[in-house]
Amino acid sequence: MNTDDNDFDLIKRFHAGEDPAFNRLAAKYQEKIYWHARKMTGNHLDADDIMQEVLMVMYAKLKDFRFQSSLYTWIYKVTATRSINLLRKRKIKNFFSLNDDDNPIQISAPTDLAGDYENREKIAMIEKFLIKLPVKQREVFIMRNSEQLSYEEISQITGTSVGALKANYFHAVDKMQKLMKDVL
C-alpha cells in the first residue's frame, strides 16, 4: 500500500493542518459510507445526506482521534449510528403522521444512482426486501455480506454481543431467502 494512503499518516498530516490529507481520507472512505447508508435506508437521498453528515463529523472529530480503535471501525460506527438514528426519526415521524409522504421509506429521486445501471431492477428489488428486515437484522446482514466484516468487528461497532449478532444474522438470511424465493 502506498504510504500516502496509510490512515495513520493521513490523520497525522491532518492533525498538522494539512487539509488535502483529509480529502484523501474522504475519498478513501466515502464509498463505504455511502453504500452502508444506502443499504440501511434504501434510498439515495438519505444515503447522500448521511454521507455528508459523516464526512462533517470526521472533519470535526478526527482532530481528537487517538487510534484507540481502527479508523475504519470508528467511521463505520459513526455511519451506523447516523443511519439508525435517521430510521428512528422516520419511524417517529410516521407514527405521529408528521410526514406528508404516504410511504417515505421508498423515496426515489431523479438522481437515483442505480437508475443508470443494468442491474437496476435487481438492486431495487433487494433494497425493497432489505427494508422489510428489522433494523438490527438489516444492519448485521449488510455488514456481514457487503462489508465482509467479522462478527467481532461488527460487535465492536454495534456494541451487540457476538451471539446475538449470529442469531440476528441467521434470522435475516432466513427472511431474505424466503422473500427472494419467488424471484430467484
Binding site: Q52, R88, K91, I92, S146, Y169
Partner: protein
Amino acid sequence: MNKMVLEYLDNQMTGEQRLIFEKELAASPELQKELEQAKSFFVSIEQYNTRPALEDYFSEARVRFKTSLSERLQKAWYKRPIPVFSLSGSMVVVALIGILILKSPANSVMEAELKEVAPEIALAYVQGTPVESEMMQNSIEDVVELNDILDDALTAEIGVSQENAGAFLDNLQLTSDELLSSLSEEEVNELSKKLEN
C-alpha cells in the same frame, strides 16, 4: 434456511463440525438441495454487493462537502460569541418574565376578580349580550405589554432584527422537522423504544 447450512457457508464451523456436516450432506439429498438454494441466494446477494463505479458522483459529493464545510466554518467564525450572548440574553428575558408574572397585580387579585366576573358572565349569557369585563381588558393589555417586552428583549438583548422578532412572536409553533431535529439522540432513542413497546 437450515442453521447448519448457514454456519457451513458462513465458515462458523470447527474442522470437526465441518467433517460431520459433510458426511450428513453426502447422505441427504434434501440437505444438498438446501445447500444449493443457499448458495444461489448468496450469489444473488453478491451481485447486489457489486458496486457500480460512481466516480463522478463521489467527486461531486466531495465538492459539495467542501462547499458546505467552508460555509459552516464561516458561520461558526461569525457566530462564535453569539451563543454566549444569546444564552445570557434568554436567561435575562426568562427571569424578567418570571418576575413580571409573579409581581403582576392582576395575578394577586385574579381570584377576587374572577368572583366579580363570574356573575357578570352568567348574566350576559342569560341576557344574550356580550360582556367585556375590566379583567378581560387587563388581560389583553397584559398580553400586549408582554409581547412588547419580548419584542424589545429579542431585538435589544439578543440582536434579532425587528422584523424577525415579530415573525418569531407571531409563529411560535415548530414544524415537525424542526421539532425532531431539536431532539437529542437519547430523546429519539427513548421515544423510539416507547413506540416499539
